[in-house]
Symmetry: C2
Subunit: 204 residues, 2 copies
């Protein structure tokens, strides 16, 4: 029997969307549970390490979004053909994570002045640093991050890019031609396209 | 022919030590390159994404410390028996990473007042939050993080614990009996013990 998947997250893209992208691209049905803050205050204590997203597979629960994505990538043949290729894919995702953490540090800063300073640094230093290097990597890898073919790193990147665009309210990716083409290529994969059309619309 | 490994990092534990732990425990020889800040200013531009540690395997270079550790864990049979077990191991390491990032946010804060505030929050909230849950996980998994046996998550944890202890100048782990026993068990694995005796001594 096919495994039953259930994704639990807030009603947003952020850390949940890469999981939904990978499941969708693999053509897997999944329960897309979206909780509000009131439900979260009750649920929080029952969730491993008090954090979402979680993935349930046949009733067993896992946490940590990137670990979940890698698990699904391996399930669906998107995690490289050997251990070294798997490492290259993982390193791309960890690099995108470094960028995402810098983004979150800006996005969720409480003090307005501090937030503005963080945004300036993000736009002028952090994004160009990472994105120029990632762009070059895609250029030399045939339009994908690793070894001239689609992997879960590409799906992860395209999902996180939508979230960052929503947070920055800026189409920052358009300055990086190879990344832009890659993101659009992923967004237009038939099952990803169908998912993006039917999913609840959110800014983040 | 056995692969040739070369680890390049600063003269410290931090993000390099988990790699050195895993290679040591697997009984692999490796070149342990430790560079100073002057060398780093020259080397930085030639390194993928301008960051270390890197691992060279037979002349091919990889970056991202956790991705490298996972690769080595898989090479040496320390990454779980199946995909789900691999996910559990990855989720532990990502949780330790969340803690390590909160630690780094304190440790490398430039403003003294801010640093003191961050330290207080780290000691009173962040460390207890993660460590109490990790301690419980070790308790219910037979003295290891996952499935009653040693994995690269245990080695990762023991190496990072030494780094955090050095930074906090506090034996914080002693308040968590299961974690304390696990860390000491790893430190006393014969090849880890031998490595810790022969490695250059550093606080971080």
């Amino acid at each position: 029997m096919a495994p039953k998947y259930k994704v639990t997250y807030f009603n947003g893209m952020a850390l949940g969307e890469p999981i939904r992208f990978i499941l969708s691209h693999a053509g897997k049905e999944f329960e897309d549970i979206r909780i509000d803050l009131e439900q979260w205050s009750t649920l929080k204590k029952d969730v491993p390490f008090g954090k979402i997203p979680t993935l349930e597979v046949d009733g067993k629960t896992a946490h940590q979004s990137v670990s979940i994505c890698r698990f699904l990538g391996r399930e669906f043949g998107l995690a490289g053909e050997n251990n070294w290729e798997g490492l290259q894919i993982d390193a791309v995702v960890d690099t995108i994570q470094d960028l995402r953490i810098a983004f979150a540090d800006f996005m969720y800063a409480e003090n307005k002045t501090v937030k503005a300073q963080k945004k300036e640094k993000l736009i002028n230093e952090t994004l160009p640093f990472y994105l120029s290097r990632l762009d070059e990597q895609v250029e030399i890898n045939g339009g994908y991050f690793v070894n001239n073919k689609l992997s879960w790193a590409d799906l992860y990147f395209a999902a996180i890019t939508e979230y960052l665009k929503g947070g920055l309210e800026d189409d920052f990716i358009s300055q990086y031609p190879n990344l832009k083409v890659l993101a659009e290529k992923v967004w237009n994969l038939p099952r990803i396209k169908a998912w993006r059309e039917k999913r609840p619309k959110t800014q983040l």
